[in-house]
Symmetry: C2
Subunit: 186 residues, 2 copies
């Protein structure tokens, strides 16, 4: 039930259409939450039916019609209600870890391209977040932006962690290539 509330927060920050939200979630604020446009449209319909948000149709000036959503009093109340109930920290669930452990039963070398791809993706995300950091969060920040920055920082921290970890894992896999014994040093 968190996508609903992620959308509420995004709409409080800036009233938007579904498409616009999808684009923001895909691109710049991917460190905040990730969702596809299909999910977003479904949840927006549901929330409009519950009167958490209200639509204002901007008939096609140049582009096709777009429905811009704003959060209602009810939506705001619902967000606060949800924020008051505790959530548990999430558990791990990453297919790459499964593959790494599985590599003991197959050809570890085959994982090298995959890890290199992951490394590249995380490096890209990191530079993207750094650009946002320099552009939007330099100097004095009000509360809202200080909080947004703190969320961005988690993105930066984790991408950096991923990068370093990918390097380590690649070193390990490469060490297997040059060392055919069953024993290797940690």
């Amino acid at each position: 039930m968190a996508l609903d509330h992620a959308l509420l927060v995004s709409l409080l920050e800036k009233p938007s259409s579904g498409y616009e939200l999808a684009r923001r979630f895909d691109r710049s604020i991917g460190y905040f939450w990730h969702a596809t446009h299909q999910q977003i449209y479904r949840v927006l319909s549901r929330m409009e039916a519950s009167d958490w948000i209200a639509a204002e149709v901007h008939a096609g000036e140049t582009a096709p019609d777009s429905k811009v959503f704003t959060v209602t009093k009810e939506g705001r109340a619902e967000l606060l209600r949800w924020m008051a109930e505790p959530v548990e920290p999430e558990g791990t669930r990453d297919a790459l870890m499964v593959k790494l452990r599985g590599a003991a039963f197959g050809a570890p070398d085959d994982l090298i391209p995959e890890l290199e791809h992951h490394r590249a993706t995380h490096a890209n995300r990191l530079t993207c977040y750094r650009v946002i950091e320099a552009r939007d969060f330099a100097g004095q920040l009000d509360r809202q932006h200080a909080l947004q920055y703190q969320v961005l920082k988690s993105g930066i921290r984790f991408e950096q962690g991923w990068l370093e970890w990918c390097e380590e894992a690649l070193d390990l896999l490469h060490s297997f290539k040059h060392n055919n014994s069953t024993r290797t040093r940690p």
Copy 2:
């Protein structure tokens, strides 16, 4: 489709019953994958029907009957097939980030207990992983254990990252308490 393969890897490492797998996933190797026993039983049935795994019933010596599963040739082949197809790095999806950004529209103080709870959970996990590290991964390691250790290291790295981030976020929220202006420094 990754839980199936996570179970295959776990069963290759050590043939086990559903209950045993659930306990391991809940406790020690939570850094590897997280799943509930209901999910595990459902997937085990499915995989047994597909002949990826085979059951051997250990009739109750002291405890109730337990079905110990082993991976078949077909299961092993399926795992290798799956490992060869690429996966994309995952996107962010953490309710805590939503709440932090949402705090700009409610009472930021209310998040302090939540963040403290997260910090405590991550600290617990970290010490748990450190114990496993010292117990199982000290000294010379063969390939299988070197790979398992690399996976554990991701758990350690991320729990550490979370801890530091929680500290930072708590500092930020506390700074709001003592500073009622709308502007604060980054």
